[in-house]
Amino acid sequence: MSPDAFRLRTGGRIDRTSRLAFTFDGRRYKGLAGDTLASALLANGVKLFGRSFKHHRRRGIMGFGVEEPNALVTIGNGAAAEPNTRATMVELAEGLEATSQNRWPTLSLDLQAVNGLAGRFLGAGFYYKTFKWPPAAWTGLYEKVIRHAAGLGRASHAADPDRYDKSFAFCDVLVVGGGPAGLMAALVAGRAGARVTLADEMPALGGRLRHEDRRIDGRGAMLWLGEIERELAALANVTLLRRTTVFGAYDHGTFGAVEQLASDDGRLPRQRFWQISAGAAVLATGAIERSIAFAGNDLPGVMLASAAQGYLFEHAVVAGWRPVVFTTNSSGYATALDLVRAGIAVQAVIDNGPVVDSATARALHEAGVPLFRHAVVERAVGGRAVTGVVMRDELGGRRELECDQLLVSGGWNPTLHLAAHRGGRPRWDDQLATFLPPPADGELLPVGAAAGRFALEDCLADGAMAAVDLCRRLGHAARTPTLPGTDEAEPYRITPLFAVEGAGAKAFVDLQNDVTAADLRQAAAEGYRSIEHAKRYTTLGMATDQGKTANVTGLAILAEALARPVAEVGTTGFRPPYTPVAIGALAHHHRGPHFAPVRRTPLHAAQVVLGAVFFETGLWLRARYVPRPGEDMAAASRREVQAVRAGVGVVDVSPLGKIELAGSDARAFLERLYCNGMATLRPGRARYGLMLREDGMVLDDGTIWCFGSGHFMVTTTTANAAAVLSHMELHHQHFWPELDVQFASVSEQWAGLAVAGPRSREVLQRVVDEPALDDASFPFMAVAEGRIGGVVCRIARISFSGERAFEVFVPAGHAEALLDCLLEAGATDGITLYGLEAMGTMRIEKGHVAGAELDGRTTPRDLGLERMQIRKKPHIGAALRDRPGLTDPARPMLVGLVPVDRSERLRAGALLVPEGAEVVQANDLGRVTSIAWSPGLGHPIALGFLAHGTERLGQRVDAVFPLYRERVTVEVRQSCFVDPEGERLRG
């Protein structure tokens, strides 16, 4: 067929000089620049666009824009394939590849159409009633079949190659919709100096002005549109966002929108997610036409009347040369007249309402178009497409009319979704036979058709007045403009009709989910009286079009079946997004390596060069081990531990939380934060500290360094650094604001290296200018501010490894140089850079608790640190520490564990039960928290919590890991495996 078989020779806003080639289901077609995929295919005479979801019925185009329920296609192929795209919203481009969905093997020969034969059994809620017996068939057979048949398009399952972007935007007035009402609002607000953002989902502004032949201010509406657009574009305080859908209205003036961007420029992303904060918003989103439920109303060739106008004026495309118009309202007449004027032979206008004399009716009559009142279309007839209608008059007489297209106008529904997103419920209007937005809340004003005011002059007036109102409220002087005049038009009138009785064949309500009028009546009969229940039972409005053309019709049918007024049945809740939003747009930058920020220590680059292997812990990248050629983690960390215990090693401890404090009440503040005493902590000394939560559980552990009488630095665990800081800030600001204490995080300022081992002092002294590090000057737990290479540093003699050790903090920028110096200075002592794996092994050997033991469920007593708690002083956690549950002797206590069979491996998280006992609650004795292979002892070791643990030394229990069906018998030991007297530490 010719590419222009259904294109008028003149008119339209396409570029007739620019031909674009594209394919649909592998067949080549040609369209024009300015076409959508839908208009181009219609121009080529294509009638069949898809197969319906359940029954696989042949479907054509119903609508013009986002409301389209049928023509869902997949655009592109491979990784970039995008399924479930409405052909009406795809701008035609050269080389576009589109394929239809939900059919096999082809669109015209779809074997799954056999479902249609089973139609009787596929009524509302059929999946709740079927596929139940036999139960065994579910996973083997039913699930497979259903999975294959379910869904519309198919996702590519490959990584999305497109880029997405996000930006915030701020404005005084957000105008949603660029039709006449929105344009007036933007103009008035823009002229008043307010910051205006206008967003419209289409590529061009104008809304329905583009789909009708109207005159504004004595000239064509498109000329008026052009002028307004130019003025708006010239205003610096106005931002125009085309191809941008505002998909959600959120709290406090926040709106979500998605903009489609041109794909030519490689620098631009495909879509941009806008998070807009608006002082106020104008909802100028117009209205969407609805259909009527009658037999055969889903045949290809049945289209919304307003859509035909759109294709006519925008694309010069007619979907049929001999249409019949079936309408309940005045707008159907306008459609018919527009078609007649374009030379289309309208076969008849069928109106279920009474005779009303109007200029349009008279013009149609003069053009020879038969007008039938008090009549309905009982059914549409045709096999592959509509070929005629059966009309029924009020007396029941039937007459068949031939046609090649049936245009239906059941009425108009204001597009009120955004107004209802924050929970307000729409109100039924009997006069307009539709729902109107909930009462305006001051932040979002519906205007024009979105508020149920369909006349063009009302749209213009509403937009302008809303802008004046909002501007005044926001403090901008807005002048009420002289409103442009419009040509005469019939006032809107409607005789409500939602469904036509009888005729036997299916009358569809929700075309995308194949929900019929009979399904809704069946739901009512089965007792689903609430619209929320009926929606989910029938799946009305649950497809990707969210029932834009179906919901109102559906609930009116339900209301009638329940014999209740529509106003009482009401609508279901409205939730964002208004149209589907790609997850990529919401994720934008945050995918792959950028899913979350990554934190690197000041020694990251240096350790990379030295061959360290990193792992993620929280947001941090930490060096886990530093292998020599041929070593795996086990071998490397084993070597590292031995090197430290025999000589000297150095490890990056930079991510530790560090908080600096001062003030006359600094010490008192610390006394309240830690459960152990701080009163006797002198300048030049550090102390281990245990911080509790108010409920008595351990929050964190760390060290407190005292530099001067009121000057301290505390360290925290890496994982809890942020939590401890917030904890301190809360208590100081809210609970004890009278305390004279000042503090701030210095975690990032200081890089940290722990130098550990019997040779640590000798090596470090070669590098440190001051202080002197001999035993007399710098005993165990001493701290000092010193100098290394003239750079200020902080040094403490603290050990995590159990060896003599020093923690050296230098300003982060000097960390790399310090590491170099240490490696050089310690070369003769075999200094070894080690990682977290070795560090963990050593602290487990020493029974030092860390994150796995401080999981928020353990008290100082559980950890064997009860004696640290000072009873006399008030501190956080003191009040609730003596509750029976926390002092129960059967409570699991920290112990060491060793597998009886040294070759067996333990797992962290294993449960402890009596030897040989069943793994049930009653036998729960505790758990394994940390595991390691001890180079010093030559076998696996673990830490854990065991009921009556300290009384059971030498006894055996089982460590079980049911997930892997493992059971290992272990012997209970002291938690400190190596050098329990701590001689290596303090020497």
Binding site: H252, G423, H734, W736, P874, L880
Partner: protein, 92 residues
């Protein structure tokens, strides 16, 4: 959602972290177990006005008491937690 921090102005929700109900006052140290259990573990869950502790973690790090309607999300009042009593009057 947006919260107007008294120091920083109107900011988006992601800059804040919520702690919970600000109404319970931290008991005196010697107040007894019952008072402390109440403070630590028990909370009302009202529909309507709720006074809550929030911290402006990605901003000035000030702790705030925010009066928020739990049903409508309207923010009725924001004050620095330092200006709101956190414990009963009297000795520490």
């Amino acid at each position: 959602m947006r919260i107007t921090c008294p120091h920083c102005g109107s900011r988006g929700l992601t800059e804040f972290s919520q702690q919970g109900d600000a109404s319970p006052l931290r008991p005196d140290d010697g107040a007894g177990e019952a008072a402390w259990v109440d403070f630590v573990h028990f909370r009302d869950n009202p529909r309507g006005e709720h006074r809550e502790l929030w911290q402006h973690v990605l901003g000035c790090r000030t702790w705030l008491v925010v009066t928020r309607d739990t049903a409508t999300h309207a923010i009725l009042r924001v004050e620095p937690a330092a200006d709101v009593r956190g414990r009963p009057r009297g000795r520490t």
